[in-house]
């Protein structure tokens, strides 16, 4: 910034060079004097953010208050919580929830890739069929779908293979009721519902990849399969993963809608128990804590997955929290032992000179 500029902006400049500003604004002649000050030796006073401190204090107070109630309000009934946290019904419910999540994720994203590819296909039959699927399954409420799948027997008592356009199943024939159990209905409902949403997420990811990439891959003669799996999908993954993780996480909790077909997943299991002993709050907390644990694990997985696909998209990957923590401990340890904290090598995974100097400066 020029010197003239400097003088006019100085009052608004706040803390940064406050002492300097005072001299500069008193007399325009000071401009010339200023040149004599050795600017490299001037101390920089960082801007104070008073509002951040005030709001920070309010937040800390509210959180502390909440934590305090956890210990003092005996209605939380932590004893009951402990008693049921690992109880068989709850754990079975949790396992069922996880099974439903995994199943629906596999069906949803497997079918989703096909639907996304279909929508991007040059064949109008495939693209309109994919569009129609997505339109339909996004329109029908999941609950309705689950009930229909569970009661499919009313519509088609038998399912089988035989002469087309007849109900004469002379090759194979099964009773619908035996084919579509509660579990199968839940997988179908959740999976098909999920597929419609995943298809759009995957399609969005595929579209986000620069067309130049496909062109370059084509010019190199890379076969279609290689182009898709090695060039496009890894780049699309960057924008697919955050949304996909959202979907999986909402599946964990969304799986609780299968209570309409009386499947005892985590939330249903908890309900069954508190309907018996009417200790609603502690049992709801059991469910909440389990959900929190599962989602935490998923979020950690998401973090590392995103990091994996961020390779090459930034110049240097920031260290993981774990790496940061390890580095911090090592620095503290070096301080304790009278060593030179600056001598501690930077975090392991991505050696980078800029980051390590940055850390030393602190």
């Amino acid at each position: 910034m020029s010197v003239a500029d400097d003088t006019t902006t100085r009052p608004a400049d706040g803390g940064a060079n406050a002492e300097q500003g005072a001299t500069a604004s008193t007399a325009p002649a000071a401009n010339r004097n200023r040149d004599r000050v050795d600017l490299s030796a001037v101390k920089v006073v960082p801007t104070r953010h008073w509002f951040r401190w005030v709001f920070g204090a309010v937040v800390v107070f509210v959180v502390a208050q909440l934590i305090w109630t956890l210990f003092t309000n005996d209605k939380y009934d932590w004893g009951t919580f402990g008693q049921y946290f690992f109880s068989e019904t709850v754990v079975n419910g949790l396992v069922l929830t996880l099974q439903l999540t995994v199943g629906a994720t596999v069906i949803g994203f497997g079918l989703g890739i096909l639907l996304a590819a279909g929508r991007l296909s040059k064949s109008w039959i495939l693209s309109s069929a994919s569009w129609a699927y997505i339109w339909f399954f996004r329109s029908v409420p999941l609950v309705v779908q689950l009930v229909v799948w569970y009661n499919l027997g009313y519509l088609f008592p038998q399912i089988g293979l035989g002469t087309p356009f007849t109900y004469d199943f002379w090759i194979v024939q099964v009773d619908t009721v035996t084919l579509i159990s509660q579990m199968a209905a839940a997988f179908l409902g959740l999976g098909l519902h999920q597929a419609a949403y995943s298809a759009e997420i995957i399609r969005g990811g595929l579209l986000s990849v620069d067309s130049g990439q496909l062109e370059a891959a084509g010019a190199l003669g890379l076969p279609r399969r290689v182009r898709f799996f090695r060039i496009v999908l890894p780049q699309a993954a960057r924008s697919i993963i955050p949304n996909a993780a959202n979907e999986v996480i909402s599946l964990v909790k969304g799986a609780s809608v299968v209570f309409v077909i009386a499947l005892p997943e985590l939330f249903y299991a908890v309900q069954v128990i508190y309907n018996r002993n009417s200790r609603v709050i502690p049992l709801l907390i059991v469910a909440v804590v389990w959900y929190t644990i599962v989602v935490t694990l998923l979020s950690i997985g998401q973090y590392y997955l995103e990091r994996h696909y961020a390779k090459g998209s930034v110049r240097v990957l920031p260290p993981t929290p774990l790496q940061r923590a390890r580095h911090w401990t090592r620095v503290q340890w070096a301080r304790l032992g009278d060593g030179d904290p600056a001598a501690v090598p930077a975090t392991t995974s991505t050696p980078d000179p800029t980051r390590s100097t940055d850390r030393r400066a602190r």
């Binding site: 990439q213 084509g218 010019a219 890379l222 076969p223 090695r230 390779k311």
Partner: protein
């Protein structure tokens, strides 16, 4: 299989019979329009094996489109484009052209390498992986061979120590040099350059041009769309001037660039060299 990087130097260009030397590009009466707007209007151009041709012209003149028709990145409405007598996108049976399956097109494309204006390096792969991708995917080499060859190519473009870097960690000029090495990995007979220095900072242009200059002596056919008139004069055997989809003038750089005959060429050069 090992891929020869340097073609044996022929002392006289015509020493080998032309039919034997690969790298001939024949463009015959090519027409192309986008949504009714003509981009190429009856362009014909024969390029000899080993020849270095620079295509000049104002923006929107169709020079990039012409270049891209050579390896079927762009389809054409009429006319024909062949490389060594073969259509890249079609098979000729009698008096009909049959559109080829994509896998066939891809196979034929490998004899033509392309260097893009925006490099189009694969950002999630390292420089070395960018170069080995095609030889490995097409099973032209084992992993070790491909890596060795890629390393040799990187050294050739002066980036022997940058193999483990990702494209984002390289400067524009370095990225374009990696892109050239990548285009060379399949040992193509013909190399197409689509404004290879247009996206670069002025001080990085030189390093890319010097790599291309070295390639000009390697016996490959080079077709270069460029705005670097000085470079075209120095490297090209022939300069082609395109305007509004028509080929207006061609000849050795000493003629076309010094004494242009067509008024449009004169006007263009006056503007560019001003």
């Amino acid at each position: 299989m090992s891929i020869t990087l340097e073609r044996p130097e022929t002392t006289e260009k015509d020493a080998t019979p032309i039919a034997v030397r690969p790298g001939r590009v024949e463009i015959h009466d090519v027409w192309k329009s986008y949504a009714g707007v003509p981009v190429l209007r009856g362009v014909s151009l024969d390029i000899e094996p080993g020849e270095v041709v620079a295509i000049l012209g104002p923006s929107g003149s169709g020079k990039s489109t012409l270049l891209r028709t050579i390896n079927h990145l762009e389809t054409i409405d009429r006319g024909s484009v062949t490389v060594d007598g073969e259509f890249i996108g079609y098979a000729r049976r009698g008096d009909r052209l049959h559109e080829l399956r994509e896998s066939e097109v891809l196979k034929r494309r490998t004899s033509v390498g392309v260097v893009f204006q925006n490099f189009n390096l694969f950002p999630h792969l390292t420089a070395l992986e960018n170069i080995t991708a095609a030889p490995l995917a097409l099973r032209r080499a084992t992993k070790a061979e491909a890596r060795e060859q890629a390393q040799a190519l990187l050294e050739r473009v002066g980036l022997g120590d940058k193999g483990a870097r990702y494209p984002r960690q390289l400067s524009g000029g370095q990225q374009q040099r990696v892109a050239i090495a990548r285009a060379l990995a399949l040992d193509p007979q013909v190399l197409l350059f689509d404004e290879p220095t247009s996206a670069l900072d002025p001080e990085l242009v030189g390093e890319v041009l010097s790599v291309i200059r070295d390639l000009a002596d390697s016996g490959r056919t080079l077709v270069i769309v460029t705005h670097e008139i000085g470079f075209a004069r120095e490297v090209a055997d022939r300069v082609v001037f395109l305007d509004e989809g028509e080929l207006l003038e061609q000849g050795p750089p000493s003629e076309v660039l010094v004494n242009p005959r067509h008024p449009r060429t004169q006007e263009f050069l006056a503007k560019v060299l001003a």
